[in-house]
Amino acid sequence: MKKFDADGLGESLLRGFAGRTSRRSLLSKLGLALVAAPAFPLLPVSRANAAKPDRSPEGKTAFARAAQTKDDTECNYWRYCAIDGALCSCCGGGIHSCPAGAQPSPVSWVGTCINPDDGKAYLIAYRDCCGKPLCNHCFCDNADRETQIYTPQLNNDIIWCFGTDSMQYHCSTAVLVGAAQ
């Protein structure tokens, strides 16, 4: 069974990242991670299985089967399949907008979520908004394909405020990066 395309996921993520940031210090650190690529598979992937992902109801997770596309202030909104934290949509921001005064992190963890309207999987970048106190609204903790810190790009516990002026965590957004297949 192919669970998700981490290779494509990583490519899309890095393309998006390259298009948005010019933080040299951050890039140099990220570059260090990439230089060490043989031992740091940033793009973990099972290349052996090239079959199309199973998007049938039987192939979906419990989250995907119950996901909706109307209300992005609810934890079961389809893009939130691997989010952990306060929803910026409930904190004065939006699905891809930080609340006023907060700063989006240029890097993030990612998820692959299925939109129930078209049945397709999309790459979602969960960008934390940083530099303000914790927003105490709409806490969600969904964990589809969420892993541990040794696979950091798929871990949703890390405070992803790297490269921002402050590492204070405020809330989380769910930015659509593109189709995952």
């Binding site: 069974m1 669970k3 981490a6 951050l26 650190k29 990220l30 260090l32 991670a33 060490a36 690529a37 031992a39 740091f40 598979p41 973990p44 099972s46 039987e58 192939g59 979906k60 997770t61 419990a62 989250f63 890097v107 530099g131 106190p133 914790l134 903790d141 964990a143 589809d144 394909r145 969420e146 892993t147 541990q148 810190i149 040794y150 696979t151 950091p152 798929l154 516990d157 890390i158 405070i159 405020c161 790297f162 002026d165 402050s166 590492m167 204070q168």
Partner: protein, 384 residues
């Protein structure tokens, strides 16, 4: 009120106070004092406040009473000195509170008076909280290892005797640290291997085992259990596979076995729609080292429910590989820890309500309920 009436009332008040004063004259005046702690005991449990909260409360599991608090800041990591003399806190603060110049350090607190003894400056550290494996201490208490991700991953080596930062070791693709006696430390990696880092030489040497688990298909919880006496680490995957690594310069990992099979069920797997018993929570298991019994929070659900709070505790005898006891919980719990004495006591953090519950490890009987004990990770002293 007229002026004359006010004077009469004032006089009466003074008279009443004088009368009361003479009634309590026998009592001695007091001075403010500060309590001291005993050295950490095996029956104590240390409970973090939870995400964004400060302070680590210390409770005696025999009495359910609070003994004191370690001064841990938000997103810090605490480690217990195996010799019982200090509490170490790896933490990050800013010169202007929530902004300004960032400062990372290991704070050293005396275990008796709980006062700060030293700040050991370190270059950086990962901010996440809820992880014991980001800050570990060597078995002899002499070395601290602090995990860092910025976002390249490395490990800060701290000499706790000299109270000095020594060096940072780049550790690409790996995290979740465990002591590896006489070598340095080991860590789990995203390629499914166990990395071993030899720290002592002029240049650190990093070796990797053959991959033995899938970091994205069936990850191993970072809440693994290191056993100093056996020099082994007991690990568990999201599906409930139990792995045992024997540490050393070249660690070996035994063939895993299923906790569900150990309870008489079919092994759980990763397929969608399959409802099964799975391990889960934020601190899903605790090993009672003297007996080899592993206490695991289990819940009914589907795969990828690894953060779900436990509905039952399964006690797995890692020697016979059988689940020997099961304790249903009144309220699901996200954290579990067990004391290391001959009579193990279980500590649980209830998911709803935030109460701490202490159960007898052998019978499951509830012994104490601690109101708002702390919503985070729990620690006990390792077996001596």
């Amino acid at each position: 009120m007229t002026l004359a009436a006010a004077r009469v009332l004032s006089s009466l008040t003074i008279l009443a106070l004088m009368t009361a004063s003479s009634a309590v004259r026998a009592q001695e005046g007091e001075t403010s004092e500060v309590s001291k702690m005993e050295p950490p005991k095996p029956e104590w449990v240390f409970v973090r406040g939870g995400f964004g909260s400060e302070g680590t409360s210390i409770y005696d599991t025999k009495t359910g009473k609070m003994k004191g608090m370690v001064n841990t800041s938000a997103s810090s990591d605490m480690a217990l000195d195996p010799t019982g003399k200090f509490y170490y806190v790896s933490e990050t603060i800013w010169t202007k509170g929530n902004r300004g110049t960032r400062q990372d350090m290991v704070a050293v607190y005396d275990a008796i008076d709980l006062k700060l003894q030293a700040d050991i400056n370190i270059p950086d550290r990962l901010l996440v909280g809820e992880r014991k494996q980001n800050f570990i201490i060597s078995d002899d208490g002499k070395w601290g290892f602090v995990y860092n991700m910025s976002p390249a991953s490395s490990v800060n080596v701290v000499d706790l005797t000299k109270r000095k930062f020594v060096k940072a070791i780049e550790l690409p693709g790996c995290a979740a640290l465990m002591p590896n006696p006489a070598v340095g430390f080991s860590a789990l990696c995203s390629d499914g291997s166990l990395a071993t880092v030899t720290v002592g030489g002029a240049k650190p040497v990093i070796t990797h085992s053959a991959p033995f688990f899938s970091a994205t298909g069936d990850p191993i919880f970072e809440n693994f259990q290191y056993d100093k006496a056996k020099q082994q680490t007991v690990m568990m995957s999201y599906t409930g596979l139990i792995y045992t690594a024997t540490l050393g310069a070249t660690p070996t990992v035994a063939q895993p076995y299923s906790i569900q099979a150990a309870a008489g069920y079919a092994a759980a797997d990763t397929k969608p729609l399959a409802v099964d018993w799975y391990p889960g929570g934020r601190q899903p298991m605790a090993l009672h080292r003297p007996s080899g019994e592993l206490y695991v929070l289990m819940h009914m659900g589907e795969y990828w429910s690894h953060k779900a709070a436990g509905e039952e505790i399964w006690v797995l005898d890692t020697t016979s590989r059988k689940v020997v006891r099961r304790f249903p919980l009144k309220i699901p719990a996200a954290h579990i820890e067990v004391t290391q004495g001959a009579e193990p006591m279980i500590f649980l953090n209830e998911e709803e309500g935030g109460n701490g519950i202490i159960l007898d490890g052998k019978t499951g009987k509830e012994e104490h309920k601690i109101e708002r004990a702390g919503g985070g990770m729990a620690y006990t002293m390792p077996a001596s």
